[in-house]
């Protein structure tokens, strides 16, 4: 930061004696503090914490929402042998292939915007704007875009690639590709903003020094900008990963309903389908627990990575 030159009245004062009137401040402080944190705690505990515990219990039962019969941990081993479940996990894994796209494109765009090209503020807002619209709306537009007579196919034939055109949403793999591309597209705005924020914190002298030393734009980007952005890239990766696993319900609901077959059913969509379309609440709860375990692992890995970097 560049605040060193300007005196900061707060930090330049001699340090205050630690805890001057501790007893006076302390009286009643604990009770007020406890009372003020209680609403948030109770809300989260009752609406999120308790159902999470219930999910662990019901995941080992056969449950229709009213009566539950205990099955035990074998419910899990049984599920792992279900071909539909394996297919769903495979879909999730394939969707992850869109993540590099969802990171590299916004990184490039952020780098270009950072040159402060004419009108860059307007471009920034325009690229960020899709963040405001719902997955439902994006899904509806994407469904027409990838349809048999949609814009993608007309564009393909217009540039002489007509042999590639197909009814994307009616093939299992092509439908998943369409979902993945839509997902990558919709992450561009958010990730671009994360990278731009990161670039604003960079030391401009480093890039300038590289340029003086004869590095070209690409080299400066790769060897100076990207390494300095490591923390921001890691953060964007986590956000994108979390979205890939947990934010695509509405998109899939509107765009493909998980089909054709299980072609675009991801774990989070499978939870909904199993419970609310098929009525197997116990299995649905189990799928939710599996999703939780995956996401908690991802989260803990992130925390460990951040800790070890310090």
């Amino acid at each position: 930061m560049t605040t060193q030159a300007t005196p900061n009245p707060r930090t330049d004062l001699p340090p205050a004696p630690t805890r001057p009137r501790r007893t006076r401040l302390h009286r009643g402080r604990s009770w007020v503090g406890l009372a003020m944190t209680a609403p948030a705690f109770v809300l989260v505990a009752v609406i999120l914490g308790w159902p999470m515990l219930q999910a662990f219990y019901y995941s080992m039962t056969q449950w229709d929402g009213i009566t539950a019969t205990w099955v035990g941990p074998s419910a899990y081993t049984h599920e792992f042998h279900d071909p539909a479940f394996r297919r769903v996990l495979q879909n999730n894994a394939l969707l992850l292939l869109a993540i590099p796209l969802a990171l590299v494109i916004p990184l490039g765009i952020a780098f270009l915007l950072d040159t402060h090209v004419f009108g860059w503020r307007i471009f920034r807002s325009a690229y960020f704007l899709p963040t405001a619209i719902s997955w439902v709306v994006i899904g509806m537009v994407a469904e027409r875009f990838f349809a048999a007579h949609g814009q993608l196919n007309s564009m393909l034939s217009a540039v002489g690639l007509g042999f590639l055109s197909t009814d994307f949403l009616s093939g299992e793999r092509t439908a998943l590709l369409a979902v993945a591309l839509t997902f990558a597209w919709s992450m561009i705005g958010t990730n671009m903003i994360i990278f731009l924020t990161g670039m604003a914190t960079l030391d401009p002298h480093l890039a300038e020094a590289a340029r003086v030393d004869g590095a070209g734009g690409w080299q400066t980007f790769r060897r100076v900008t990207v390494p300095q952005l490591k923390r921001f890239i890691q953060f964007a990766l986590m956000m994108t990963l979390i979205s890939a696993f947990t934010a695509l319900f509405s998109l899939i609901f509107v765009m493909t309903s998980g089909g054709p077959g299980y072609g675009t059913t991801t774990l989070e969509f499978f939870v909904y389908q199993t419970a609310f379309a098929v009525g197997q609440f116990g299995t649905g709860a189990m799928l939710g627990v599996i999703l939780f375990v995956i996401m908690a692992t991802v989260g803990i890995v992130q925390i460990v990575l951040l800790r070890t970097k310090e």
Binding site: G33, P39, A45, I47, L112, V141, I194
Partner: protein, 288 residues
């Protein structure tokens, strides 16, 4: 910059200039690239507007623009009522989130009690819980409490889902307030709740605005919770109304696009007004 010695920042010349493309050709190539990216990013808006201005037959077979689909919107989607529902659900949920998270954040930052850090971790850890992991038991619980046929069930869900991250943001924000502010309040004879209400809360308006815009877009655009927890069609939000129509597959696409525009507009307006705060919220998790 009134220091005795000049710093690097005081030097003239390109040192602190943002990277500029100096060759005019490269500059215009870059500008054209920006326009192309803009077309890709704004394409859905163009598609929605263009399609909504056609009748179904002109959309399918080609033909001119008309307002037919906008006239037909009323009979397909009760958008007026649904906009009101979305607004009610959003404002109630965000209200609860702001109250809970600002109080808790203030206490975690300034009024720590024995065990406070454990409670803090318990709340923050809930960020890791995906909605889909708890939605089935929560649905059964809330059905059991007979709250599926009012706004209450959905509002409770949205509030609980939004509170952990909001609490995190508020705690970080209040931690940056100097303790002297608090002590001045104590010396003036204010109680802790009063210090919070009169001194700390007004100082945290930017953080509250960040939470507002993050949650507004989140809740306004949500489908899953609304679909399950708003069982009365008359209480459906606009996003749920649209989602239900879209999944039906029989509806006239231009009318759906008109409905999409109506649903997107409020979120876009909030987005444009609060864009700066949204940026803060998105990058708040990185830590400095």
């Amino acid at each position: 910059m009134s220091g005795v010695l000049p710093t690097l920042d005081d030097l003239p010349g390109p040192v602190t200039e943002p990277r500029k493309i100096r060759r005019p050709f490269a500059g215009s190539a870059l500008f054209i690239a920006m326009i192309v990216i803009g077309v890709v990013m704004l394409y859905p808006f163009y598609f929605m507007i263009d399609t909504s201005l056609r009748s179904e037959s002109s959309f399918l077979n080609g033909g001119g623009h008309s307002l037919d689909s906008w006239r037909a919107l009323d009979s397909t989607l009760p958008w007026g009522q649904q906009l009101i529902n979305s607004t009610i659900v959003c404002l109630l949920s965000i209200g609860i989130i702001l109250v809970c998270s600002s109080m808790a954040g203030f206490a975690f930052a300034k009024l720590r009690y024995p065990g406070a850090s454990g409670v803090f971790v318990a709340i923050i850890a809930a960020i890791l819980i995906p909605v889909q992991s708890i939605v089935i038991p929560a649905y059964v619980d809330i059905a059991h409490w007979h709250l599926l046929t009012s706004y209450t069930g959905a509002v409770l869900m949205y509030s609980a889902i939004g509170t952990p991250f909001a609490t995190f943001l508020m705690t970080v924000y209040y931690r940056s307030l100097p303790d002297e502010v608090l002590e001045a309040g104590v010396i003036d004879g204010l109680s802790y709740p009063m210090i919070f209400l009169r001194i700390a809360l007004p100082m945290s308006v930017p953080a509250l605005a960040t939470i507002f815009v993050l949650q507004f877009i989140q809740i306004w655009d949500d489908l899953l919770i609304g679909l399950l927890f708003l069982q009365n069609t008359s209480e459906r939000t606009i996003t749920v109304g649209l989602g239900a129509l879209a999944a039906g597959r029989t509806t006239d696409i231009p009318v759906l696009m008109a409905g999409s525009l109506v649903s997107a507009l409020p979120a876009i307006v909030v987005f444009l007004i609060f864009q700066r705060f949204l940026v803060n919220g998105l990058t708040a998790g990185i830590g400095r």
